[in-house]
Amino acid sequence: MNEKTEDPGGFQELVANLRHVPARLREAFRRHGAPASRRARSQAIFGNVFLHIHSVRIHRWTLRKTFTFGLGIACTALFGILVVTGLALMVYYKPSAAAAYDSVKDIHYVVAGGRLIRNMHRWAAHMMVACVFLHMARVVFTASYRKPREGNWLIGIGLLVLTLILAFTGYCLPWDQLGFWATTIGANIGGSPTELLQSLRLQGMPDVGDFQRRIILGSRLIGESALVRFYFFHCVLVPLALTILVGVHFWRIRKDGGLSRPDDIRPEELAGTPADELEAADAVPRKTYGLMCLVGDKTPAVDKNPEDTVSSWPHLFIGEMTVVAVILLAVVALGLLFNAPLSVAADPMVPENPAKAPWYFLGLQECVSYSAFSGGILIPTLVVIALGLLPFLDRGANDTGRLLGGPGERKVFWGTSILATAAVVGLLAFTIHLTNLSRASIALARSTADSSLIRGNWLRYWWPDLGQIWIIICNPGTVLFTVFAAYSLIILLRSQSVRLGVVAFFTCFVVSFVIMTYFAAVHRGPNWEFYWWPSQWPTH
């Protein structure tokens, strides 16, 4: 080595190498030149672990803005924001009942940028739940759950459930009144099988409800152990599971042949999407793509000419990055404009009245108010099972990938929207009417001191001694579910199309979800009673 340093040529070489470091560094990561040709673009994507997420070429159909609306990537972007801001929050957050609230206060007031980080985390979480719902709706209405994407659809349902768990577990971490009582509701829903056991007089059976409740809370009462458990779920277990499932979800997109698209794409339907400007730039490589045989269904290369495909770089990536940037901007702006709510410190002695779950559970909470087991366990389980069954019931292939593109789908969608709205509103009005009658009878009984005048609520208005099991079986929630299921079946029978039945059922689900959420958010007041506006809530 000593000899070399004395050699002026060696020194010159060092200087020359130093000068070349930037160029060679670039080379180390990007082995090919500027992606000016199809091959170069392909190689750029092959050679990059991150870009490798997409196939080299994608169909132009995929790039139609009104096809995906960028919802999948928006969910991913929001999850990314949540991970980053969440990690930042973990630096200062103290997961103990005594310190949690104060540490959130300190994050808000003292930690540099803490307020923005926390606000971003909160708004991104709400947006992510909303985007996941919308993403699912897009998939259903474009019939993209169909073969060969059944597996990915099921994974997507898993991701929906995980997202909800993630959002719910995060809700209580500030340990304020808002989160504390929302968590209480959640834990009570977990404990609701007890209601079923008791109504069946099966108290001797293992108490599943109590067991679930204790799994959720780590104790019989909500407290320190519940907080630590939720912290663990929220920060470790669920994000890990979600990350893995998201990876599988992405991988399956490619293995299922990219995003769904119809077989019979008319050229005018592709207007507005970029064409391949390098189409004739170089000869199509005579590559066999033999390995692609492993992939199911239609892939760009196996039984199709690569016409109407464009390279992912830049067309897809630039769009995705734009979605990410816009989402980030929106979250930052929301974070700067609106503070994340933080109520007073949790006080187990002072229940919030009304104690409301986060908005995405409000529809369920409305059902829970009829019957805890039915609304909290039975109906969501039925809904998840029904959603999971969609791709196995609807085995059609026509019009996959078009937004309500099949024959009669738009008609069924709009018709069902109107009918379902009428059904939900009517049933809610009827339920409130019975409640009012029941309350009037109690007032009458009180004024006349005649307890025989007291009439119960709902079915007990007519049959006062009805067992709880009948309420579990028949309450506004289950009635609605049954009516929707029957309606969808009628649509199916009349049109002889499973797809139309699916559209009808999912539309019912969306409509009832939206209306019930709105109803519970706005029109439910203290003691879960009906009020036209929160300003009418009793004040004492």
């Binding site: 970029p274 400007e277 734009t322």
Partner: protein, 713 residues
């Protein structure tokens, strides 16, 4: 060599690139701006710079860096960052500065260590916040712990000091006394004690604003009035305009003035569950133990009135009964009041012993207080002084007594009270008896206590009854009746019916003195016997048998005379004048006689020799003889030296006693205030069982006849 197709290409990449760039740049700008603002312009910086400038004026070397300043309070688990803006609270030079640089007014910081207590312990607000809006919590409409407006800071003293502590501030004290004096706890519980008609008030000062806030109509105005403090606005509305409460509220309008309402709000705001004294290791003083009157004001006065005269409450559609009214206290007794307070059996009045959680001792204090508001009747002495007019007495009796006892005291089956016109009753009812029964009532019966009657009315009433039982017989007629050959026979049967119960079948004496002792037979003249029978003996069980006819009395005297087995000798000359000194007699009486006859001869285990009627019937020789030689068949021994007794008095001393007794005879007796009965309880119990229990029941609970007062309950 790229070769472009001639057909029109859609360039989607460039607009996306532009959008991407714009969004990224904007995000960067926003983040950078936030960072710069947070670093170089924190909200407290202007104040700290201004204070630093002031410091530099005094001392050019002074350096006052801008940073977050905070009081870390490990005892309380708090961090108060108020001093980031209020940097000069401890600097007396800044006494006249504008907020937030003003020094803390008053001397509070000298004995309240800021390093231990901080700011929010007294002022509330969010100690952790570093902007005025957040720290004063004005931004959050629904925030319980807003910074307290200055005049309500005194509400927080109770977090360390007892509400009765002398350090309490004036408005708090006024509010506290209002609260305690207006009977608020009659409906509201506090620390587990109080009525149940209204909500409990514990922690009212921290009531969750999500349920406790002014009604929409008042909300804006009141919340503004209290600087955004919803809790204060709610309390203010609740005390000043209870009608703002829900329609079914029972809360009624005390018509408080604005100033009173504010005082009361100061007190009610102090009802907090936050107790800091323990954390600060400070001995919180105890609450004062309220006396009966204070307890009454606290729990009862809202319904029954501060003066006990009842309250007319529109809201309750009911009148709180006037429990201090003479007519109520006339029929009530302490036991009844205590029982009623303990367990009310009423839909409106709480059962204080059970639901209201008052201790038996507190209930006792309240009932004693209520009982103490009852007036004392005029003393018998004053009644005596009045000249009673029987005619007026009759009017009074027909007005006041007739509703229970019937007109003219005539017997009637459906009357509540006993017949007053019965000779037997009248025979027992002497003036004292009437006075006591009328003024004290008869516990356990419907007979109320007419304690509020003036002396003249009482004199008229007793005169009326006196008139009813005036002796019908004369001594002469009685003497004539003794001529009847059957006199002894009739006399025996009359004696067995009227006298034998007390004096014994053969006059041997039971509770009454023996009539067959030679001394008695010797000393008691026929006139004495007649007088005693017709007038009775005040202060003893010997009634006034004025209703007896002359024949009956004559026959009785004949029968009593038949007891004289061996004629006794009079040892004292009935005509000799007895002279002596009253004062010496009084001394001797007090020393020897009072042991049995009671002080001043009011009677104890021996008869009341100070009795007017007795002294009127007995002449001096009778007295002297009895004192000297005793009374056979009774416990009275001879007291003359050498006559067998233990006292061994000289004749002169006995003369003194006789003179003293005469003095007692001239004095008007005043039995009011003395125990109603004198005697030995065990003896009484034994005699009661033997003589009275047949009719009155073993425990006096009434078997076939009367219940006796105060028994069997």
């Amino acid at each position: 060599m790229p070769r472009r197709e001639p057909r029109q290409k859609v360039n989607t990449v460039t607009p996306l690139k532009r959008l991407l760039t714009a969004a990224s740049v904007l995000t960067l700008v926003l983040l950078t701006g936030t960072m710069i603002r947070g670093t170089f312009a924190p909200p407290y910086a202007p104040y700290q710079r201004a204070y630093g400038k002031r410091l530099k004026q005094g001392d050019p070397e002074a350096d006052y860096p801008v940073r977050i300043r905070q009081l870390v309070l490990p005892d309380l688990g708090r961090v108060d960052r108020c001093v980031s803006c209020h940097v000069a609270v401890e600097d007396p030079r800044m006494a006249d500065a504008d907020q937030p640089l003003k020094a803390h007014p008053g001397e509070y910081l000298s004995d309240h260590d800021m390093q231990r207590i901080g700011c929010t312990s007294c002022h509330d607000g969010q100690g952790r916040a570093i902007t005025a809006v957040d720290a004063h919590a004005n931004e959050f409409e629904h925030w319980e712990r807003k910074r307290l407006p200055d005049r309500f800071v005194q509400s927080t003293c109770t977090r360390c000091h007892s509400a009765d502590s002398p350090v309490m501030m004036p408005a708090f004290v006024r509010g506290r006394d209002l609260f305690r004096g207006r009977g608020c706890r009659g409906c509201h519980q506090l620390r587990g004690k109080g009525g149940l008609l209204g909500p409990a008030l514990d922690g009212l000062g921290e009531a969750s604003v999500s349920v406790k806030m002014p009604i929409p109509k008042n909300r804006h105005e009141l919340v503004g009035k209290f600087e955004g403090d919803v809790n204060l606005a709610y309390i203010y509305e609740a005390v000043l305009t209870p009608k703002a409460q829900p329609a079914e509220t029972l809360m009624f309008d005390y018509k408080l003035s604005e100033a009173q309402a504010i005082d009361l709000v100061v007190y009610l705001k102090s009802l907090t569950v936050t107790v800091m004294s323990e954390a600060l290791n400070y001995a919180r003083g105890p609450l004062d133990e309220p006396d009966g009157g204070q307890l009454y004001a606290m729990y009862c006065s809202a319904c029954h009135g501060a003066d006990g005269m009842g309250t007319r409450m529109e809201e309750l559609k009911k009148i709180g009964p006037a429990i201090a009214h003479p007519a109520f206290l006339a029929v009530a007794d302490p036991g009844f009041i205590r029982a009623k307070i303990h367990q009310s059996n009423s839909s409106v009045m709480p059962s204080w012993g059970t639901a209201g959680k008052l201790t038996a001792e507190e209930i006792g204090r309240i009932s004693d207080y209520i009982w103490s508001t009852k007036g004392t009747p005029v003393p018998l002495r004053e009644v005596d002084r009045e000249e009673g007019v029987p005619r007026f007495g009759a009017m009074l009796a027909n007005g006041r007594c007739a509703s229970c006892h019937g007109f003219e005291g005539e017997y009637s089956m459906d009357m509540i009270g006993p017949t007053l016109n019965s000779p037997e009753l009248l025979s027992q009812a002497n003036q004292t008896f009437l006075y006591r029964t009328i003024t004290a009532g008869r516990a356990g019966t419907a007979m109320p206590s007419w304690h509020f009657l003036p002396a003249r009315d009482l004199a008229d009433l007793t005169a009326y009854f006196e008139q009813k039982r005036e002796a019908r017989a004369t001594f002469e007629a009685a003497t004539r009746a003794r001529q009847d050959p059957q006199a002894a026979r009739w006399g025996r049967s009359r004696y067995a019916g009227v006298c034998a119960t007390c004096h014994g079948r053969d006059g041997e004496g039971v509770i009454g003195p023996s009539l067959n002792s030679p001394e008695f037979q010797l000393l008691a003249s026929d006139q004495f016997l007649f007088d005693t029978i017709t007038r009775g003996r005040e202060g003893t069980a010997m009634g006034r048998y004025a209703h007896l006819g002359a024949d009956d009395i004559g026959w009785l005297i004949t029968h009593i005379r038949s007891f004289a087995s061996a004629p006794a000798e009079r040892r004292i000359d009935p005509d000799a004048e007895i002279l002596g000194f009253e004062s010496r007699g009084a001394e001797t009486f007090a020393r020897f006689c009072a042991q049995c006859h009671g002080a001043e001869g009011v009677g104890h285990i021996a008869p009341a020799v100070g009795n007017r009627d007795f002294l009127a019937a007995a002449d001096d020789a009778f007295l002297k003889e009895t004192i000297s030689y005793g009374r056979g068949g009774s416990g009275m021994a001879g007291n003359l030296r050498g006559s067998g007794g233990t006292a061994g008095l000289s004749e002169r001393t006995i003369n003194d006693i006789v003179v003293y007794l005469r003095l007692l005879g001239r004095r008007a007796p005043d039995y009011a205030g003395l125990p109603r009965t004198q005697g030995d309880v065990s003896l009484g119990r034994e005699r009661f069982a033997r003589l009275c229990a047949q009719c009155h029941g073993v425990a006096g609970s009434g078997d076939r006849t009367l219940r006796l007062p105060g028994s069997g309950r």
